[in-house]
Symmetry: C2
Subunit: 226 residues, 2 copies
């Protein structure tokens, strides 16, 4: 069995890749260089695939900064300093939301899956910690599955590519515990939205990560700015 | 009203852009540089937007040659010399099919539509002349509409982006007659898959175009190799 795994270099996608591997899939890792500010993620992805042996690692360039509309791809400020409970209780869609991002990434993964003949696409989307993102909801992925079945040559032949979201209903603590069980090299992953030499420790992503490790009773070994 | 129009530089997308304009939309044209061999299409798109006044013309780079799998983005040979009836009656998916192409293009258009606040996305897909492409079928676009409604911030707010395929059920003759009615500058469009100085006149795309002009009783003013 072959699987395309969307590997951003973040913690969630790393755990997802290890889950796919544990399920017996040969891994075709796909990382996007979409002009994100935190390019350290891409370096992290390269280190992760070295640990996890993969058949192939594609890094696909698509310059979403040309579209704009997000703090991650344009010069909007990344918010910092919110507490864990403020982030969790917010009903706003964060400014770090990249318009149609998961749709764009999954579409490219679908093309790649068709070329390599993959049986599944794994994406580390998560519904619990980022409920403000429309394209992280289970109903969104169900709609993408319907589309994928119609969109491709394989689909027409009745040979569907399964869209798999193994961590969608886990919270960060549970994702970290799952990753620990599978020996995910957390120290190689990168979550910070700001992207300096060390993680900022203050953006939403750092705050959620730090709280997750604390709740899991584990130490996060990456370096943070004090 | 605002519309994102996928403008490849080919005849079908040019007619589609003029239809959107005639329907009263302000046009945000989106062209992809996806590593296609026939880069003359991109130059054609630039000329077309000068004629048709548009609010903005984005050219988005995404290197699909990294994924491969198509004669248009890799070094597979583009077939030439088939007759119009051979092309029309073929049940094979052509080697010029780019895996998941329309899904990738529509996804990016969806992100762009969200950023500019567009009410519609126009795509010049056509069901009649390219029935072998899975992602040119009406049921495929219906599934993409369902996905788009779930995928975006606007969708969550109940403010849907409408996916419009105005020429999907027209054959090439009818598309050309519609374009003639709207004064589409056909001489600026580029259809050839091969992409030399002049159009080859022998690939499937040239053959369908030439037959369409003939059936429409109009002269195709672009230059062909003898």
């Amino acid at each position: 069995m072959k699987a395309v795994v969307l590997l951003s270099g973040g913690l969630d996608s790393a755990v997802t890749a290890y889950i796919a591997k544990a399920q017996g899939y040969d891994i075709y890792a796909l990382t996007f260089d979409y002009g994100q500010r935190h390019r350290k993620e891409i370096e992290a992805a390269k280190k992760i695939v070295k640990k996890l042996s993969v058949v192939e690692h594609k890094i696909l360039s698509i310059d979403l900064t040309q579209i704009g509309g997000s703090a991650l791809t344009s010069d909007l400020a990344v918010p910092q300093g919110k507490s864990f409970s403020e982030i969790k209780s917010s009903e706003e869609i964060p400014v770090t939301y990249v318009p149609a991002r998961n749709t764009i990434l999954l579409s490219c993964a679908l093309g790649y899956a068709e070329v390599v003949g993959a049986d599944a696409i794994f994406i580390g989307a998560n519904h619990m910690d980022y409920s403000g993102y429309p394209d992280c909801r289970p109903e969104y992925f169900a709609a993408f599955q319907d589309l994928a079945n119609l969109a491709t040559k394989r689909g027409i032949e009745g040979n569907y590519v399964e869209i798999k979201t193994p961590i969608i209903n886990l919270d960060k603590k549970e994702i970290i515990l799952k990753g620990a069980e599978l020996n995910v090299p957390f120290e190689l992953t990168w979550s910070c939205y700001v992207g300096g030499e060390k993680a900022c420790g203050k953006c939403d992503s750092c705050t959620i990560r730090l709280a997750g490790f604390k709740q899991a009773g584990l130490k996060d070994k990456i370096k943070y700015n004090k």
